[in-house]
């Protein structure tokens, strides 16, 4: 963890609501006031269930979509105030790795052309220089250069994810967002990709935002983990803290659900009730209260603030003192 220098990415009070088509004034409250910082060469995990807004948050951080409110400071510069020309240059420093590598590559383009595109877009050099850079990068991600003449349909998911990673790293970014990079892969391939990412981030000195719905996948690679529920961050702490001393009831439930074999079905299924509500009609007060075993009147009425309960450990729960680890 690096609290030494100023953080690489700082987001404050980000809000993004998507209006719902054909239903008047309703909107999906995808990200609802998120403040976070990612240090240089730090790996932050972002965990949450589907629809909690984690992918939206990621796209806000890399300026792929613009927030309704809030600001993003990257490397000391205000992203939202950038002019289009600067923005294109800025694109080099921020990259995205997708959940489904097959969808992230045009099925009608050879892999080599997909790899070449970003280099050409940024005028990185002559064709031969680019080819050399690509071959070097393929070595880094452990891909046989022979397969780049193929089309995406002719490769396995693991190979394609390596290609996508190589393509992202070719531009030497400082910050890479990985949106569930392993959830479409099999267990044996998942471990390979996680090892690769861990390895590459050390070698390239990368800051990573690792998004996942599965806490287990984050354990081996993250320095810190932020837990998101319905557009808000409910807990943020160093990774071992999240696993060993989670304070938010939702984090505890996630934890239990991913450790089914140790905790047992009965215990795991009682830690949380019901299902995530729709972000179109989030519950008042603490968003988690309808499913929370600790909820009381306070939770139904007041939104809990993100409270610093220890160094590097923040929780947004009225009753965190009652959730003894």
């Amino acid at each position: 963890m690096s609290s030494t220098a100023s953080p690489l990415v700082e987001a404050s009070d980000l809000v993004k609501h998507f209006p719902l088509r054909g239903s008047g004034r309703l909107s999906v409250r995808s990200v609802d006031g998120v403040t976070l910082a990612i240090g240089r060469a730090e790996v932050l995990g972002l965990v949450g269930e589907s629809g909690c807004g984690k992918s939206t948050l990621a796209r806000l951080l890399i300026n792929q979509i613009r927030p309704d409110r809030g600001e993003v400071i990257m490397d000391g510069r205000d992203l939202l105030a950038m002019r289009p020309g600067d923005l294109r240059r800025f694109r080099r420093t921020v990259q995205l790795i997708f959940q489904n590598p097959e969808a992230a590559l045009d099925p009608r383009m050879r892999l080599i052309d997909s790899l070449m595109a970003p280099l050409a877009a940024h005028h990185a050099g002559t064709r031969d220089e680019c080819l050399e850079m690509i071959h070097a990068m393929l070595g880094e991600v452990g891909i046989d250069p022979g397969i780049v003449q193929r089309y995406p349909g002719q490769c396995s998911g693991g190979q394609l994810q390596r290609i996508v990673i190589a393509r992202a790293l070719l531009l030497r970014p400082k910050f890479v967002v990985c949106d569930e990079p392993t959830s479409s892969l099999d267990a044996s391939i998942r471990a390979q990709i996680l090892n690769l990412l861990n390895d590459l981030r050390r070698r390239f000195d990368l800051s990573l935002l690792m998004i996942s719905h599965d806490l287990r996948a984050l354990r081996h690679i993250c320095d810190r983990v932020a837990v998101m529920y319905l557009g808000r961050i409910v807990e943020m702490a160093p990774v071992e803290q999240i696993f060993q001393a989670p304070r938010h009831p939702y984090t505890r439930a996630l934890n239990a659900a991913s450790l089914l074999d140790e905790i047992g079905l009965d215990a795991a299924s009682h830690l949380v009730q019901g299902e995530p509500p729709s972000p179109v009609h989030p519950p008042p007060g603490c968003h988690f209260h309808p499913r929370c075993p600790l909820a009381d009147e306070t939770c139904r009425q007041h939104v809990p603030a993100l409270e610093r309960i220890a160094e590097h450990h923040e929780v947004s729960c009225h009753h965190w003192r009652r959730t003894n680890p």
């Binding site: 719902l20 054909g22 239903s23 008047g24 309703l26 589907s50 629809g51 729709s278 179109v280 009609h281």
Partner: protein
């Protein structure tokens, strides 16, 4: 993108219909304006045209033209004339036909009835054949039956009705004498025109039905229904048809709107007093009020049919929240 949908607030249907009603009024006003301009767009000025249409060969008497111009208010400013005309249109007064001297609205109303009868007969005939054939082709996807059906459908699309109609008349009316060759006097006169008219929609319906049933056959809910013990036919009847027929409905509405005025050739060949023939003779006779009235009616009907189809679609398919987005 979103896995859930907001529950629609009460009154969504009313709001939708209101929105469509506004679209209808606005479009009709615009179309009326265009229709109003029709006589001005041509090279002759309306008064001359009117006189010429009545007294075909006589030399134009400029005094008479001027008198008519004043009588019809043609000397007023254009916009003034338009609003006066629009007011009459919204009261259902489309003026008098140049040729028959009868109210245009009455003639159109009668013709629409005839065309609707013809179009609906043809389309339901097409539907009755296309639904089972399309379903069977989907079930036999990629096999010989499917190939033959597709080829025949392409053949049907390629047959011009102005060729088929005379041939059928020659065969069934002239040679065999089973059916009347033309006219509009009951069921017998309906058979040949409906048969000619149904071929192309038949081809389209069966292809749409086939494509949609192929999707249905691969749908997970059919697999789930079969895992509950339904046979393939049972699963298709109980869970397939209702989902598979929805795209056909959209195409059906398009064809219905299209045939209400578009069956010109068939109506002319079989001497059927429908919209198509009405418009055709209006064109031949330069009957401006009739043309104006028909444009307005056809556009209005197209919008109404579209809206009805959207509503029906929403009834059949509960995942659509009547806004027409799902198409």
């Amino acid at each position: 993108m979103l896995a859930w949908r907001a529950n629609l607030p009460a009154g969504a249907m009313e709001r939708f219909l209101l929105k469509r009603a506004i679209v209808l009024v606005v479009t009709l006003t615009l179309v009326s304006f265009l229709a109003f301009l029709v006589p001005w767009l041509g090279d002759a000025d309306p008064a001359r045209a009117i006189i010429r249409s009545r007294v075909a060969d006589l030399a134009l008497d400029s005094a008479a033209v001027e008198a008519l111009r004043i009588r019809l208010g043609l000397d007023q400013p254009l916009l003034h004339q338009f609003f006066a005309w629009l007011g009459r249109v919204f009261q259902g007064d489309l003026g008098l036909s140049f040729t028959s001297r009868l109210p245009v609205a009455d003639q159109i109303l009668r013709a629409i009835g005839v065309s609707a009868t013809l179009a609906l007969s043809a389309l339901f005939l097409a539907l009755a054949i296309a639904l089972p054939v399309g379903t069977l082709a989907a079930v036999h996807q990629g096999r010989r039956f499917d190939g033959i059906v597709t080829f025949i459908a392409q053949g049907f699309v390629s047959i011009p009705e102005y060729w088929l109609a005379p041939v059928l008349v020659l065969l069934f009316a002239v040679e065999l004498g089973w059916l009347p060759s033309a006219g509009w006097s009951g069921f017998e006169t309906l058979i040949l025109p409906a048969a000619v008219l149904c071929l192309r929609p038949l081809a389209y319906f069966s292809q749409v039905m086939r494509a949609s049933m192929i999707d249905v056959l691969h749908a997970n809910y059919i697999l789930a229904a079969r895992s509950r013990g339904l046979g393939l036919a049972g699963a298709l009847v109980r869970h397939g048809l209702r989902n598979g027929i929805q795209p056909v409905l959209t195409v059906f509405a398009l064809w219905l709107a299209g045939l209400l005025g578009g069956s010109v050739v068939v109506e002319v060949i079989f001497a059927i007093p429908g919209m198509g023939r009405l418009i055709y003779s209006a064109v031949i006779n330069n009957d401006m009020p009739m043309l104006q009235g028909s444009i307005i009616c056809i556009v209005g009907l197209a919008i109404i049919i579209n809206t009805a189809a959207d509503v029906l679609y929403g009834v059949l398919n509960p995942t659509v929240t009547v806004s027409g987005d799902a198409r």
